[in-house]
């Protein structure tokens, strides 16, 4: 149960989340996104093993951003009609506008909740494999992204290595922060250059292993679709319907 979200087919998960988001875009009221956000939290609580510390860390910037939307909408919006519900610092806040502002910021929260749910429960490699197997993504692109993705740790090593090479050759200059930052340029470009060279070799290796970029008939890691995906999709759709319906009741 705790692993349901993790075991879902990534493409299905991606589709259902996209559907949720596009639907949300049509509902401009505070309640729908709020309910979705709370629903997403509950789903994650029940069906995932995500690290809540990481989640909180990711969520903080979005909360700040939501707040930004909230007050800028209040201050910069053109709408100046409707009943006043609130007055702070000589500023009159009108009901329509308050709803507007809340809708915008809750929408930010709902969107970030949904996308964090996807990001924190999906392995990038499985997602790409699934895109290739279920969504007919071209193998040329799919494998290139996989290779690119695997380069990330290599890139980090490369950074260390170039520093070490400079040190070995006696090329490091110590100094204050500014000269060090300037020296970073001397490391970042070679790092990118090293990455370019490595990518070329990886491409050679792929070709030498008989990679033609054509659609393939068999896969070693099969990413399948099962009952679980149906159940989870249904769950998300229910959440979506409830939240959308709520707008007409409240």
């Amino acid at each position: 149960m705790k692993s349901a979200l993790h075991n879902m087919n990534p493409s299905v998960k991606f589709l259902i989340i996209t559907i949720c988001m596009f639907t949300l875009a049509f509902f401009f009221n505070p309640w729908t996104p709020l309910i979705v956000w709370i629903g997403v939290l509950l789903v994650q609580l029940l069906f995932s093993r995500i690290n809540w510390k990481v989640w909180t860390l990711f969520m903080i910037p979005f909360v700040i951003m939501a707040f930004g939307y909230f007050w800028t909408t209040l201050v910069f919006a053109e709408e100046k009609t409707g009943p006043v519900v609130w007055t702070i610092l000589n500023m009159e806040i009108r009901e329509v506008l308050l709803n507007h502002a809340l809708a915008l910021s809750f929408r930010v929260l709902a969107f970030s909740g949904l996308s964090l749910l996807f990001a924190l429960t999906t392995k990038p490699v499985s997602f790409i494999l699934s895109l290739m197997q279920q969504m007919k993504l071209s193998p040329k692109i799919a494998y290139s992204i996989l290779v690119g993705y695997q380069f990330l740790p290599v890139l980090k090593d490369e950074f260390v290595q170039i520093q070490q090479a400079h040190r070995l050759r006696g090329a490091t200059q110590k100094g204050n922060i500014i000269t060090r930052l300037l020296n970073m340029r001397k490391i970042l470009l070679p790092m990118l250059a090293g990455a370019v060279r490595k990518s070329e070799r990886a491409a050679f290796a792929m070709e030498a292993r008989g990679f033609t970029g054509e659609k393939r008939t068999s896969f070693y890691h099969i990413i399948g679709i099962g009952k679980l995906d149906v159940y989870m999709a249904a769950l998300f759709l229910m959440l979506l319907i409830v939240s959308c319906a709520s707008s007409s009741f409240i």
Binding site: G68, T72, L114, K140, G148, A203
Partner: protein
């Protein structure tokens, strides 16, 4: 579209997309916090960052599609690593990439001087702004504010994406690691303009 691409070009493009996808995400998080204090206009003057990969890839590879595809992959990487906009961002990436691509297509993929690169940055700015105008609810802001945002974004697109992208590639070119890509193949003058 990819038929005429060499594998090493596809891999290079993907690698850059992944690397810049991460850089994009870092800026997005920083931008979000910043935007929390001064509103959506906070993004505008750094918006060019988010177009840079399309210009870098196109400038190196010079084949139709390099701008759209790279920008789309970078956006997909951002989604994978987690951000507020979610899958919708991929659409935004496509739109931005198309904006840059349009500028290159207009020159028939023949010219890659600084002006064309800046034009591509501007193209991406305009496309993304129009998209943002309808999706992001800018409609609620006053016209003056919207125009200011647009102006800032265009400038940022031209400078950060256009001029900045060229600077990065020219630096790479000087390290000699871009042998065998279109950028070193074209007449010497062109690559250096």
């Amino acid at each position: 579209m990819l038929k005429s691409w060499k594998l090493k070009e596809v891999v290079l493009m993907s690698l850059f997309s992944v690397v810049f996808g991460i850089i994009y995400l870092l800026f997005l998080h920083a931008g979000n916090i910043w935007a929390g204090f001064i509103g959506p206009i906070a993004y505008e003057w750094i918006f060019g960052i988010w177009f840079i990969v399309s210009i870098i890839c196109m400038y190196i590879i010079r084949k139709p599609g390099a701008a759209v595809i790279s920008e789309t992959i970078a956006a997909a990487v951002e989604v994978l690593l987690g951000n507020a906009v979610g899958p919708r961002l991929i659409l935004a990436g496509v739109v931005q990439g198309l904006g840059a691509e349009a500028a290159f297509a207009a020159t028939g993929y023949k010219k890659f001087n600084i002006w064309v690169l800046m034009l591509a940055g501007i193209g991406a700015s305009i496309f993304s702004f129009v998209y943002g105008y309808f999706m992001g609810g800018f409609t609620v802001f006053s016209t003056g504010y919207v125009l200011l945002m647009l102006g800032l974004r265009i400038m940022s697109g031209a400078l950060i994406a256009g001029v900045g992208g060229k600077a990065v590639v020219d630096g790479l070119l000087a390290t000699g690691s871009l042998r065998g890509y279109a950028i070193t193949r074209t007449a010497k003058g062109d690559a250096r303009v």
